[in-house]
Amino acid sequence: MPRDTIDGRQMLGARIILKALEEQGVEVVFGYPGGAVLPIYDEIFKQNRIRHILVRHEQGAVHAAEGYARSTGKVGVVLVTSGPGATNAVTGLTDALMDSIPVVCLTGQVPTHLIGNDAFQEADTIGITRPCTKHNYLVKDPNDLAKTIHEAFYVARSGRPGPVVVDLPKDVVMEKGAYATAPRGIKRQQHKTYRPAHTPDPASINAVVDLMVNAERPLFYTGGGVINAGPGASKTLTDLVKDTGFPITSTLMGLGAYPASGPKWLGMVGMHGTYESNMAMHGCDVMINIGARFDDRVTGNLKYFSPGSKKIHVDIDQSSINKNVIVDIPVVGDAGVALKAIFKAWKARTTRPKAKAMKAWWADIERWKAKDCLSYTQTGSVIKPQYAIQRLFELTKKRDTFITTEVGQHQMWAAQFCRFDKPNHWLTSGGLGTMGYGLPAAIGAQIGNPKGLVVDVAGEASILMNIQELSTAVQYRLPVKVFIINNQYMGMVRQWQELLHGGRYAESYTDSLPDFVKLAEAYGMTGLRVQDPAKVDDTIKEMMAIDGPVIVDVCVDQKENCYPMIPSGAAHNHMLLGPEDEGEQKITGAGMALV
């Protein structure tokens, strides 16, 4: 049916919702039914354009939508019921807010006349989700439904992306209202008040290039903003790095924007970043931050953060600029547009940084690289976690592999050892650090990329936080692989207890873990276990050969810690490279209070 003929047509609220989702190009909704959303589910039942994926917990629905969104670049959509459905979604929403992932979450609500009466399964969803969404709406009139949903998609994907909640009282969904088609063409971007900056001020771009051409020790420091700006931005970044010859490092969220196999790549920056990138951050004279937000995991102690550098900050969100670190050249705009403008202005210049200075800078970097900060030794009969992850990466890199993670040591090792050459293939909970993110995110990524190989690098503690989603994977025959780095400890907690609390491992050992092989079988999937380093490769190959979901229980060295590490409260140039450094740098005083 042509769009114009449905504009203004009367239809049931629930039908309007489905129609609006369809018009927004939605293919998949992750959800869980309940009383308040039954009329919407009834409409889902009556159509077959939008696929519904039934999760096993609403938190899983939001993470799955995040995984779908990050791996495809589309908006992830969630549908949950009122009360507990909405409150269960809160962790996922906060996660999406922190990591700037576009998600539209439709929540059921009790009928309007019962709102405020403590009705069954009532929660003040708007009040609860206000601080953990980019924006939220309560729809009180079926005639506003279509317009509100269109606007929710606009807000979720525009500017700095984020989660948007639309709260839908049951009576509104059951009444008839007029449909409104989505604004098209130029109107699509013309919201009344919300019009985030897209194109940066040319004057600021000029100032950026002024600094760049006169730099002696320049460094690109990129983040998730480049990924959010689309694959074109990553391409421009790669070209710009090639043309300038500047070294580049990235945050956890930005991995893959510049290929890790590229010659200028220094590895990840931050608390568990590489020695060379942290030293380069500390020693650079011009820092070009594109789409990163000077997170405390990156900066370490602000007092000592990159003391000698002029700082450029490109960010689409004005409030990110000068929030943690005061910068010299702020550039407000889309990372992709800004990169293009910077590249163009750079090419137009005839001056270039002094070759001698750049040579000396690269010599410094090579010296730092020679420390080989990620080295480990795989000897004996126990599997080193780094070895397992490195082998996983080596054996899967030829496939279109998506890596998701939970949160903890395994996450940092995955970030260090999986070298991403493409954007959108690395899905991890960066800002919020949500244990239980990886499995549902893998499910979402697999839905969005049916042919991809999706592996959740997990820890045995994190995976238990959303283990129920295995059932979802099995139901939809999603061949996700769960690669559990099992050391029987909440490894990162244990590592901190070792560094900060005298090795008193309070509650960080998990007793009574399930037998993950049997657990896999109980869910109707394949379970594998590996304990011998010599068998790691074969097990990974076996995992890849199985056309279905698999759990691999990798039993690893229980005491291995994640290095290198910037201890709390320290500067970038005071990294711990391994356990032998621990004695020299005791974390005391204010550093202990930091998380």
């Binding site: 708007i126 009040g127 206000r130 601080p131 980019k134 924006h135 309560l138 807000v155 919201h191 009344k192 008040t193 919300y194 019009r195 985030p196 900056a197 897209h198 194109t199 940066p200 001020d201 004057a203 600021s204 100032a207 969100d317 004005q318 409030s319 600029i321 000068n322 929030k323 005061i326 910068v327 010299d328 050249i329 702020p330 407000v332 705009g333």
Partner: protein
């Protein structure tokens, strides 16, 4: 709110100033449920100060509300507050009245003073000096209505304390820029894209504190006109 200004004109030295300044910020927002909660939640969630906050519908068809807030913080914090407010979807326009030229701010207070005899006469006499209206009078009490800057009201309340002060009700500050021209609603289509804002940001560099002092001094003289 759209904000695409090149803020390089706020010098690093100004942002690094660790002194705390008081700023009055006017915000035009959609007049819809929950907007105030968004603004207040932003302040409490991020640990910013609110010294005073007033809200009211300001247009004929009740579509637009104006929030006047008085906050204090370092320059970096104040810039953060404005940027954070700018991210809120229902926000039309933000104007830092302290930064963008001279402005006037007024508050109204109802001040109840109990007493008889000499103190009662003294209270009335001081009320007269402050150009108060007596809006309620009982044999042993007065309710004064006093209008002026927050400082003037503070001073009046201070004087009433030994004279039987029992209760104070204050409205919070309503503020507006001096001179011609109104606060532009950024949501309305612009006649022409003139880079007006650049000038405003340059003023930031000159620092607002002396200006603010002079504005405060001027304030009491114009209080009667407003009544």
């Amino acid at each position: 709110m759209s904000s695409n200004i090149y803020e390089g004109s706020v010098p690093v030295s100004v942002l690094k100033d660790t002194d705390v300044y008081r700023h009055t910020i006017a915000v035009l927002v959609d007049n819809e449920a929950g907007v105030l909660a968004r603004v207040v939640g932003l302040f409490s969630g991020r640990g910013y100060n609110i010294e005073s906050l007033t809200v009211s519908v300001v247009d004929e068809d009740a579509q637009l509300s104006r929030i006047n807030l008085v906050t204090s913080g370092t320059r970096q914090i104040v810039e953060q507050i404005k940027a954070q407010l700018g991210r809120l979807v229902p926000v039309h326009t933000i104007k830092d009245l302290t930064d963008e030229g001279p402005s006037v701010g007024r508050e109204l207070a109802l001040v109840k003073v109990d007493g008889t005899g000499e103190v009662r006469v003294e209270a009335l006499r001081i009320g007269d000096i402050f150009r108060c209206n007596v809006v309620d009078s009982a044999p042993d009490s007065f309710v004064f209505e006093v209008v002026g800057t927050s400082e003037k009201i503070d001073a009046f309340i201070g004087l009433m304390k030994p004279l039987g002060l029992v209760e104070v009700s204050r409205t919070g500050v309503a503020a507006i820029a001096r001179g011609a021209g109104g606060m532009v609603d950024d949501a309305l289509p612009k006649p022409k894209a003139t880079p007006k804002r650049k000038k405003a940001t340059k003023k930031v560099a000159k620092k607002a504190s002396p200006k603010r002092k002079s504005a405060a001094k001027k304030a009491p003289t114009s209080s009667k006109k407003k009544r």
